[in-house]
Symmetry: C2
Subunit: 155 residues, 2 copies
């Protein structure tokens, strides 16, 4: 099988899996779904902008245990928002740009890039190299910004 075919099959399998997880939830109202995905971003900001990024920038003293804990929190949080970009929420006022729904493949790519950076951050916090952890925190932050540029309205 060539790589494109494998990728296409994986997309179908993973897509079906994501659909299952979504459908396994008691159906929430679209307004609730929007609030839930926004809640993830609020908490992401708490740990990323309130602690990890200023730590990487040297504005907060480096504490390996707190950094590892918060990277673990971000690891969990970063898996939570995506089913909240449910097509049923398309017309509800939020900062999600129309491209979230009209260019789902590009949005998924941005999510995957972000998740990939976080997996690397969690691994780095286990490695104990402060400089590597700080540099990876900034890489995660860059992947947040990358997604926001194309998919989130500025304030």
């Amino acid at each position: 099988m060539n790589k494109k075919l494998i990728a296409a099959i994986l997309t179908v399998i993973l897509g079906a899996g994501a659909g299952y997880v979504l459908n396994a939830f008691a159906q929430a109202k679209p307004e609730t779904v929007v609030k839930q995905r926004q809640a993830v971003m609020i908490l992401h900001a708490k740990y990323m902008y309130g602690h990890l990024r200023p730590t990487a920038q040297g504005k907060i003293p480096y504490d390996a245990n707190v950094v590892a804990r918060n990277a673990g929190f971000i690891d969990a949080l970063s898996q939570m928002p995506w089913d909240g970009f449910d097509p049923r929420t398309k017309d509800i006022q939020s900062r999600a740009m129309p491209a979230v729904f009209s260019d789902a493949a590009k949005f998924k790519e941005a999510q995957d890039r972000y998740r990939g950076e976080i997996v690397k951050l969690v691994a780095a916090t286990k490695g104990g190299d402060e400089a590597a952890v700080k540099s990876q925190i900034l890489a995660v932050n860059k992947s947040c910004d990358g997604c926001h540029e194309s998919f989130r309205e500025s304030k």
Copy 2:
């Protein structure tokens, strides 16, 4: 050393640790802190009331992988709200009852009971016994309600 003395020492050590974590964060505005702790509850509801509880009640088909994932999410979320009950937020309108601030020891006990049930739930999801997992989900839910009764205003 007797048990009471050990407990007292642990309280001081853990209390100091929690204070350090709090102070290590860039200081957020009290209004932001309230939104952050409310965001945790919104997400807790997503996974607990939207999936885990109805699964335990037989309303949603049991999927061990999704249950384990969501129990992991709840494990992370359940560590996030407590520093949000910052005394600086005491006078901001929310459903937090005055006892949160006036009876901090009892509030901490309720948090610890809840955390203890979640640790047991995560362990149960690793054990693979569906009945045990379902029963432990309901125990977690009971510990949520136990805290809400004394520390959260009804709607």
